[in-house]
């Protein structure tokens, strides 16, 4: 067997032990990311397990996961660093009686002691390379995206009062996007790319087995078949993997060990774990649920 193929299989196994079922293509991409030192851009619908990739990767590498959750209006102060103004002002008061020169005082005020590290600065100043997760980058605006690019290619950032901060270690960067906004070509070209689909039956079954071992094999198969059928319906918000697991848990809580044809009533009680909007809920009258239950 090819060495590299063995590596891929090995990483798949390690990820599985960390609770993540990965396709070989994803494992191959994660390895390549290490080789080339490039970030990985993960796209796909909400709930396909994009964030989980970063978590599992951090677990496999036994390192920290640093997460930057993006949102509209996210700016450098929230992502990189901020001066601790309150402490600085206090310090100025305390230094009033100090005999040192103004320049010295200033140097003291703008030293690292008063620097609040936000995720990006934190990530490049760790001793051991962490996994840096930049979550839902499509929520931040274009200007921030450009800023991010610069940081990710140089791994250094300049703080006007302090000078340039170089990376102590190069973090492993995972970027996720839900596709609510088109990302720039510059960002796409800088990254390796992986598109994650909803898992197929086999993969989802493996996930349920792994994450909800208390569900009997027969129930797990039924649950997955049911969810897969629900995903084929026209819904505003399709259930993701987390919803599958939630639903399994709520079925177990109600003591349901098998989905029966005439059990629509009991399934309906738990459907809230699977279907999250009012409009989607309307797509599940009693008969529809009974039909779905009978099919799996």
């Amino acid at each position: 067997m090819n060495d590299r193929l063995a590596e891929v299989t090995g990483l798949q196994q390690a990820l599985a032990e960390a609770g993540y079922i990965a396709e070989p293509a994803l494992a191959a991409a994660l390895l390549l990311m290490q080789d080339l030192g490039r970030p990985l851009l993960l796209e796909g619908d909400a709930g396909v397990g994009k964030t989980e990739v970063a978590k599992a990767l951090a677990a496999v590498r036994a390192t920290r996961l640093i997460r930057l959750q993006c949102y509209e209006g996210l700016d450098a102060h929230a992502a990189l660093y901020e001066w601790n103004y309150q402490r600085q002002l206090l310090a100025i008061k305390l230094l009033e009686q100090d005999a040192r020169s103004v320049a010295e005082k200033e140097q003291d005020i703008f030293s690292e002691r008063y620097l609040l590290k936000r995720p990006l600065l934190e990530a490049i100043s760790c001793e051991q390379p962490p996994v840096l997760l930049i979550d839902e980058v499509d929520r931040a605006d274009e200007a921030f995206e450009a800023y991010l690019l610069e940081l990710l290619s140089d791994f250094q950032l300049s703080i006007p009062e302090l000078g340039t901060v170089h990376a102590i270690s190069r973090p492993v960067v995972v970027i996720t996007s839900n596709g609510t906004r088109e990302l720039s070509d510059a960002l796409r070209r800088r990254c390796l790319y992986q598109y994650l689909d909803y898992p197929d039956y086999e993969k989802e079954l493996a996930i349920v087995r792994l994450k909800a071992p208390q569900a009997a094999p027969a129930l797990a198969r039924q649950v997955v078949a049911f969810v897969q059928a629900v995903r084929r319906m026209e819904l505003q918000k399709k259930p993701g993997i987390a919803e599958t697991l939630d639903w399994t848990a709520s079925l177990l809580r109600l003591g349901i060990s098998v989905i029966e044809k005439d059990g629509a009533e009991r399934i309906l009680q738990t459907l809230g774990a699977l279907v999250k909007t009012r409009e989607d809920r309307a797509a599940f009258p009693r008969e529809a649920v009974a039909r779905l239950a009978a099919a799996c």
Binding site: N2, D3, R4, L5, V8, P24, A25, A28, A29, L31, L32, M33, D35, L36, L40, L41, E43, G44, D45, D75, H77, Y85, Q86, L89, L90, K93, E142, A143, G179, T180, R181, E182, D185, R188, R189, C191, L192, Y193, Q194, Y195, E234, Q236
Partner: protein, 377 residues
């Protein structure tokens, strides 16, 4: 470099790998000249003996978006598997030519592999932009048009971004509040208060007529809506014939084919009669309060052939106008020689419009849409 035993084989494989980028580019991938180097580097790490492994790795390396991801497998097979087993997909020469016009570097790279006449591509693009949508029937043209639309939408975005960038200058200290807070700390401003800039984003609401008479156009308008929504932050699309259906969600589907399927399901009765007045009434009732604000432009794309009551159309447009910043009607028939808006529907609508403009081809859309955005910002 690839550590193959036979130097001749190594040379051949290296060439094959390097040529793959050009092949992808010819098929519409956003792959640059520098990527060939990356491919070789990746191949060095991965090895070239296992085709699956190479496929996974190059897919991660060379794809940048969902549609590329989905098409990759087929192209990989076409390039790397023995030639007789697969027929190569046709190179999309036009789009590649377009790319080379935009990105100089990519163009130079492309020139080595596929010599092509940039000027011919440019004039083809010009022609395409001025062709009436209803005459664009070939699939190939539609793909090219989509590329043009994306480009156009990107330009709109830059227009808006420039304005926003000029307006924004970071956070500002709210001195008054800071000093008031400092009373408790004996006049030392320990707790700073910041003033946030409040801004309302410009918003576009598109109302697309999909009745039978609009059939040659509605397909393109949907693509336009999709391209706009992809590039601008706040675009909301609805289709109407006898009633209104929101389609933004379906258009946002990253997979274009699935998006089309979803649209088909949504548009039951698609291609039927037109009741513009009733549709607008429904829009006003169900969506306007939530969607239409002082920085919204409502764009109606319709030929104005209405089987409903003209008075209702006029009343509902008037009501909508009170909410919106601009109401623009794009009529594909407008650019035809001798057209006058004499249909009852258009007559009823005219007094309530800010603008009636042609919208049968991309060039006329390109003339109108920037002006609408200007008016919003």
């Amino acid at each position: 470099m690839l550590n193959l035993a036979d130097p001749e084989l190594e040379a051949r494989v290296t060439q094959r790998l390097a040529g793959f980028c050009g092949f992808l580019r010819a098929n519409g991938f956003a792959v640059g000249g520098g990527d060939a180097q990356q491919v070789l580097q990746a191949a060095q790490h991965v090895g070239v003996l296992d085709s699956e492994l190479l496929r996974w790795s190059l897919q991660a390396l060379l794809c940048g978006r969902c549609d590329e991801w989905r098409r990759f497998g087929e192209l990989f097979d076409a390039w790397f598997l023995p030639p007789n087993r697969w027929s190569a997909p046709q190179a999309r020469e036009f789009e590649a030519g377009l790319e080379s016009g935009v990105h100089g570097e990519a163009g130079r790279g492309a020139g080595q592999d596929h010599p092509r006449d940039a000027r011919r591509a440019a004039s083809a693009r010009e022609l395409l932009a001025r062709t009436d949508f209803s005459e664009l029937l070939e699939r190939e043209h539609q793909l090219d048009l989509e590329a043009l639309m994306r480009q156009f939408a990107r330009r709109l975005k830059h227009l808006r971004l420039r304005r926003e960038a000029r307006a924004r200058h970071g956070r500002r200290l709210d001195l008054r509040a800071t000093i008031r807070r400092s009373v408790a700390t004996g006049g030392t401003p320990l707790h700073l208060a910041w003033r946030d800039r409040r801004r309302v984003r410009p918003r576009l609401v598109l109302l697309l007529d999909v009745s039978r008479s609009m059939a040659p156009y509605s397909f393109f308008y949907l693509r336009l809506a999709r391209a706009l929504a992809g590039e601008l932050a706040d675009v909301h699309s609805f289709i109407f014939h006898t009633r209104v259906t929101a389609v933004s969600e379906a258009l946002r589907d990253p997979d274009p084919w699935r998006a089309q399927e979803r649209l088909h399901l949504l548009a039951q009765g698609w291609g039927g009669g037109t009741r513009i007045g009733e549709s607008l009434a429904q829009f006003n009732r169900e969506h306007a309060a939530r969607l239409v604000h002082a920085r919204t432009a409502v764009i109606v794309l319709s030929d104005g052939y209405d089987t409903g009551e003209p008075a209702l159309l006029a009343a509902e447009l008037a009501r909508l106008r009170r909410r919106a910043r601009r109401i623009v009607w794009l009529n594909p028939l407008c650019s035809r020689p001798g057209y006058a808006p004499v249909s009852q529907g258009m007559q009823a609508a005219l007094p309530h419009l800010d603008l009636l403009a042609p919208g049968a081809d991309l060039a006329s859309l390109a003339a109108v849409l920037p002006r609408i955005l200007e008016a919003l910002s």
